[in-house]
Amino acid sequence: MRVGGLGAAGSLALGPWLAWLLATREFRGKRAVEGAAELPAVLPPLILGTYFAFALAGRPEGFTWRVAALAAAAAALRATVRAARAAFDAVPRGYLNAARSLGAPGWRVFWRVAAPLGYRPILAAASLAFARLAAEYAVAVLVAAQGDARGALLAGPLLPAVGLAALAALTAANRLERWRARV
């Protein structure tokens, strides 16, 4: 839960900004950033976590829950960036143009106009990412555990907790998607 929560929160903190940058700015290396944001589509969180463990601790044994949370955030980034780009594209241009004509720079347009009008699909994507990350980390822990430890994990609260988290995340995402902004 901790890994999933921190991963989703991390992606939520960075994803919308990155999406806003990609949606509104032209800069050198934009394609590379877009490609990097898509990397988790081909690299599972476990592999990403191993890379991070190598990069941060210099050895695979450095795969602590903190490194796992970092890898989870990177893995969830793809979903939040995609959701945020779609959400920002759905915000009528008129509102963004109005804000610019009132002298608001890009960050203020994002913070005061685009984010409040488009946050629901972004939150929905983050909540789904949380459920998926929690489940993937649980699988990794189960596979890694040996003998009695695996039995204890299977008999313990891990699986019901992951299931409940997935159900809650799905419900939340569904409500957020359906709860259209009253404008």
Partner: protein, 342 residues
């Protein structure tokens, strides 16, 4: 000085190519849908990038295609009131106004917002969100918000303006205002300058009364909704009497003298329906009149429009029509001074 030269190709077959100056006061931009009015405003505001041209606002360069200069929209100082999606829906009107005054210190901001709320009569509406207020309140709120950002140029792309609101705006803002409108009465009453736009080109510009009274081309006459547009031949020219004889298919009239034209030239003639007169009965002797068959009559608020065979339209007051309506034959009188020949 504020001026713009804008060239931009958008869809195949459409190219915007305009050049105009914006003096202090209201300049009205009038044209059919798709003429490029909104594109001009977007180019001035910085939301659309022209392919060519140059935009100066108060002698400050905002855009120059050749020099690759383009000031970003938030630094241009162009207040913009759009047709739709003007006020932020997640804020109350007062919050919308405060958003525009964000550069002012808190106390100053509160004072300026309160002043605009009062000036634009938004008292009760100020605490509501845009969806909960009436369209006129929304428009007043959007204008008040644009003015709070202290613009140097005001761009109004909203058809809901009336004379009273425009007067209130002018009391609060002394700079140039570019107004997109389809209301010629409003142009005449409130604008200092009128630009006629069609298919991305300026057809005519000048003082509203001059443009409305003296369209300089068939295109301008069409834009102004003048229905009497005829093709004819110059049958005679009389420099002594300063007159001409114009032959249409089926009738001929005396027109103004046409310097630079020759006998046999094909020309276009326009006449406002209110500048033509109708006479009932054949017995009347009327100069410069043609017999015409009445085809249709449509009653309007201020007058009756009579349509005659050959596409001749005449507007007459209700009382005059009531007095003549039983007539079986009609004469339409053209005034040589009031027909325009191109």
């Amino acid at each position: 000085m504020t001026s713009a030269r804008i060239g931009k190709k958008t869809a195949p077959g459409f190219a915007l190519d305009v050049e105009f100056a914006l003096p202090q006061g209201v300049t009205a931009l009038f044209g059919p849908a798709g003429a490029g009015k909104t594109l001009i405003l977007e180019a001035l505001a910085g939301f659309a990038t022209p392919d060519s041209g140059r935009i100066l606002l108060d002698d400050v360069l905002l855009f120059d295609a050749a020099a690759r200069v383009s000031v970003p929209p938030h630094q241009r100082g162009c207040g913009y009131v759009a047709q739709r999606d003007a006020l932020f829906p997640h804020m109350t009107l007062r919050q919308n106004l405060a958003f525009a005054a964000h550069r002012s210190p808190r106390v100053e901001r509160t004072r300026r917002v309160a002043e605009m709320v009062e000036r634009f009569q938004l008292g009760a509406a100020a605490v509501r969100r845009p969806r909960d207020v009436t369209p006129p309140e929304r428009l007043r709120g959007a204008v008040a918000r644009a003015l709070l950002a202290s613009p140097k140029l005001l761009l109004l792309d909203e058809r809901g303006f009336d004379e009273t609101l425009l007067r209130t705006v002018r009391e609060a803002f002394a700079g140039p205002i570019l107004l997109v409108t389809d209301d010629l009465d409003l142009c005449s009453a409130a604008a200092g300058r009128l630009i006629l736009l069609d298919a991305g080109r300026m057809v005519q510009s000048g003082a509203p009364e001059s443009v409305l009274d003296r369209p300089e081309s068939v295109a301008a006459a069409r834009l102004l909704g003048i229905p009497n547009i005829f093709e004819c031949t110059v049958a005679a020219l009389d420099p002594g009497r300063r007159s001409s004889r114009l032959e249409f298919s089926g009738f001929a009239i005396n027109g103004p003298y046409l310097p630079g034209h020759f006998r046999g030239d094909r020309v276009s003639v326009t006449a406002r329906p209110e500048d033509l007169r109708v006479h009932a009965g054949e017995s009347e002797r009327v100069e410069n009149a043609v017999a015409a068959e009445l085809v249709r009559v449509s009653r309007r608020v201020r007058m009756v429009r009579m349509e005659f065979a050959g596409g001749i339209f005449v507007d007459v007051p209700h009382e005059e029509y009531e007095g003549k309506k039983d007539s079986r034959s009609w004469l339409v009188e053209f005034s040589a001074e009031k027909v325009r020949v191109f």
